[in-house]
Amino acid sequence: MSDSDSHATGSPYAPQTAAETAAMLDAVGADDLESLFDVPESVAFDSEFGIDARSERATRREVARLLGRNADLTEFLGRGHYDHYVPSVVDDLASRSEFLTSYTQYQPEVAQGFLQALFEFQSMLVELTGLGVANCSMYDDATALGEAATLSQRVRSVSGDRILVPEHLRAGKRAVLSNYADGPDLTVESYPMSDGIVDVPALADDIGDDTAMVYAESPTVRGVIEERLGAIGDLTHDHEALFCLGSDPIALSLLERPVDVGADVVVGDAASLGTGTAYGFGLGMFVTREEYLRQVPGRLVGASEDAADRRAYTLTLQTREQHIRKERATSNICTNQAWVALRTAMHAAWLGPDGLIDLAKDCVTRARDIADRLDDIVGVKAPIHGRHHFREFLARTDQPASAIVADLAAEGFAVHAVDDHLVQVCATETTADATDEFVAAFREVAK
């Protein structure tokens, strides 16, 4: 392959030349490479995988060929995964190999940079939530919610095994929660909603002293901003259950602070700051009250001092973690999403408080504006809930939702089909320039 890196070495990323290999074999007293493997013949693999090697160029081309089969759609999609414009500088700085290729910070003296960045990330979440302790990442919001459920078991003073979640909850998130709930034998149950927000009286009927945790979201999966969080918090605390709030850092820049509505844990996905659309790739945030510090899952960065008495950072309270505590750890999490958190912190800093608040306001007004425009279309009612929305909303269509989705795809747009005649539309600044065309296309397909 003329476009390949045809060094006198065995494979592209193994740098030993034939002469070096020979010298090294000699040094260890081995005749050949194969003799270094202590594998009994009965389990030795003497076949091939059947995977062709390719040049770097050809590999890139092969990926391009495969991904070329994806349709080129402008996505008005949300429901837990959001696209916001990520400035180039985030990619540029986060891609520096000292960050990207480093390991978990077990040697803090040569990992101060990443530790400080994660400390700053934690601090930003503390400001956004008003709660005292943020860990430095979970996999995504669904797994963070699962961890919150297990936390409720560990910290609650009275026993209880019911986890109450809203009727409007993304099925995928609930399915993950169920898996996390399986080990500790927790039961996940739904409570009803009313016109897009929590039906607090109904929740009051459902809740009991066997309730370990109540989970609510704002904005909800339907994009509705919850209006009675304080009441939910009070109700939950009346039963000594944990109040877990789902949100995201952009929404939190504008909405009332979780600490002020009584949230004990805040979970959610923070990847929409710092990482664009990535097929559901996430960043689970996990923020809780200081009193639960020693039961927090995942990694925590703390400030300390070095031998020269200068401020330094280190992973701390590792006795909670699997590599020390083994089966008594607060979670099995080891590899997390640290690099995604780094990007989120960078993006948040780039925006600054002004930029974050503006972006959050835009999420409210943009959804409102597009809903208004769709509502003007004959055969469309948008939004279906008479509430404040954030980024997204549900629309009822006379046409079947599946037809709307298919017809819009033919026009180059994607929306969600949520129910037979319900579609969900999400809009951010990244689709701003396509809005007029989208509304026009919607008008055609809604006929």
């Binding site: 494979s11 493997f37 520096r96 040697q107 003296e109 703390g302 997390n336």
Partner: protein, 459 residues
């Protein structure tokens, strides 16, 4: 030079006014750093300079396989046509599904497994997935079991995962040769055994030569054999977990397939299973039907372990790495990884009590404190090995150079080891002096936790 916190450089408190929402739904103010881009760029550039990555020098962290991360895989993951939303219909993401299907197939071939899910977002999530599958399997057979057996030398995640899935952990002491003690295994395994979790080669780098016997013992008792893929880089093309009798396994893509570890993550922990267990794989799974690809729910799926489809960008890098190397490159990677470990071990003065090892070895710092020795290595400009683990070796220096080091850099690394071996305890205790930060007081950090800049202000 130290770098101030962003909050110390440019914090700003902004009142929230002109909100499009009612006041009672709106916070009052937000106080966060507000650097302009030039200042932001310098801040993170400086932070990066205080961090050590694979491109900074040797990074022989045992059990972590810190191999070189090919630059082009970042470009692959950053492709515009890869940036798609998980909410799209299958018909509009045929490219993504095709690639996932190919990766499932590649991983199946490499591990000798019949079906592979890409959903678990990390190795530990893969373990959880695998153990949940084992649990589902037993429940499906109306055969509830309560224990998972794990060797004492195993990764901490194995223990935590088993507990998280609701199992009792039965810890298996290692034999004198550092491998599974067959008698102890026979004693530990029984009707309650849901699974044995095993790494092979194990954390000492030793191949479990009795693996077929081990498998028979577990299978005869009705248990399943779980393979922790952390050390698969030792065996590519030489032996496959599926051929050894493992029923379930996870792949650590940041180890075996060179996706960057990102200072802690993201990773991906695909899980492979034997045909019989495919019905329990997470929902959804990707299959091909007449040239088209689709998501479907396996008949007895355990459900989901990630909110969407897992860590897609990481999976793209995995695919690119495997497709670049192919059979030949993957085989060579393992051979050179094993050669490098053997060569390095030969060059260092510390004793290496167990062998023959493969891609990693565990030396003993002897009279020295292994953690202190590691700090001292920083002064010689290299990253130290993993220390004080596994406990079967006193003052363990668990060392895995990977295939990415030249003979020259291994010689430098050996020189660093040997220099430290000759240093006094006092020199070790004072180390490091070379990095920006000197020895960091971890005890105080834990005793008086300050986990945010807000907490610094309080003290």
């Amino acid at each position: 030079l130290y770098e101030p916190l962003l909050s110390e450089k440019a914090n700003e408190t902004v009142e929230v006014d002109d909100s499009p929402l009612p006041d009672d739904l709106t916070r009052d103010s937000l106080s966060l750093p507000d650097p302009a881009e030039p200042e932001l760029a310098r801040h993170y550039t400086r932070l990066s300079q205080m961090n050590y990555g694979v491109e900074s020098g040797p990074f022989p962290l045992g059990s972590c396989t810190m191999k070189y991360n090919p630059s082009f895989t970042e470009d692959v993951a950053g492709r515009a046509d890869a940036a798609i939303h998980p909410g799209r219909p299958d018909s509009t993401v045929q490219g993504t599904l095709a690639l996932c299907h190919r990766l499932q197939d590649y991983l199946g071939r490499i591990g000798g497994m019949d079906a592979v899910t890409l959903q678990p977002p990390a190795g530990a999530a893969g373990e959880f997935t695998g153990i949940q599958i084992a649990k589902a399997y037993h429940e499906h057979n109306d055969d509830e079991r309560s224990e998972v057996v794990i060797p004492d030398s195993a990764h901490g995640t194995n223990f935590a995962t088993a507990a998280m899935a609701g199992y009792e952990v039965v810890e298996l002491p290692s034999g004198d040769d550092g491998r599974v003690d067959i008698e102890a295994l026979e004693a530990a395994v029984g009707d309650d055994t849901a699974a044995l979790m095993l790494t092979n080669p194990n954390t000492l780098g030793l191949f479990e030569r009795d693996i077929e016997h081990v498998a028979d013992i577990v299978h005869d008792a009705g248990g399943l054999l779980y393979y922790d893929g952390a050390n698969l880089n030792a065996l590519l093309g030489r032996a496959r977990p599926g051929d050894m009798g493992f029923d379930v396994m996870h792949y650590n893509v940041h180890k075996t397939f060179a996706t960057p570890h990102g200072g802690g993550g993201p990773g991906a922990g695909p899980v492979g299973v034997r045909e019989e267990l495919a019905q329990f794989l997470p929902n959804p799974h990707v299959r091909e039907r007449g040239g088209n690809y689709e998501h479907y729910e396996p008949s007895n799926s355990i459900g989901k372990v990630h909110g969407f489809y897992g860590n897609w960008p990481v999976l793209l890098k995995t695919f690119a790495y495997i497709a670049r190397l192919g059979d030949e490159g993957l085989r060579d990677a393992s051979a050179k990884a094993v050669l490098n470990a053997n060569y390095l071990a030969e060059q260092i003065e510390y004793e290496v009590p167990f062998g023959p090892f493969h891609h990693e070895f565990v030396a003993s710092a002897g009279e020295q404190d292994a953690a202190d020795a590691a700090k001292r290595m920083l002064d010689y400009g290299v990253h130290p090995p993993t220390t004080k683990w596994p406990e079967i070796v006193d003052e363990a220096l668990m060392t895995e150079p990977t295939e990415g080091e030249t003979k020259r850099s291994l010689d430098q690394l050996a020189a660093a080891f040997n220099a430290v071996a000759g240093d006094s305890d006092a020199e070790l205790a004072d180390a490091p002096s070379r990095p920006t930060a000197k020895r960091i007081d971890q005890a105080t950090a834990a005793r008086n936790p300050r986990l945010s800049w807000q907490a610094l202000d309080d003290t």
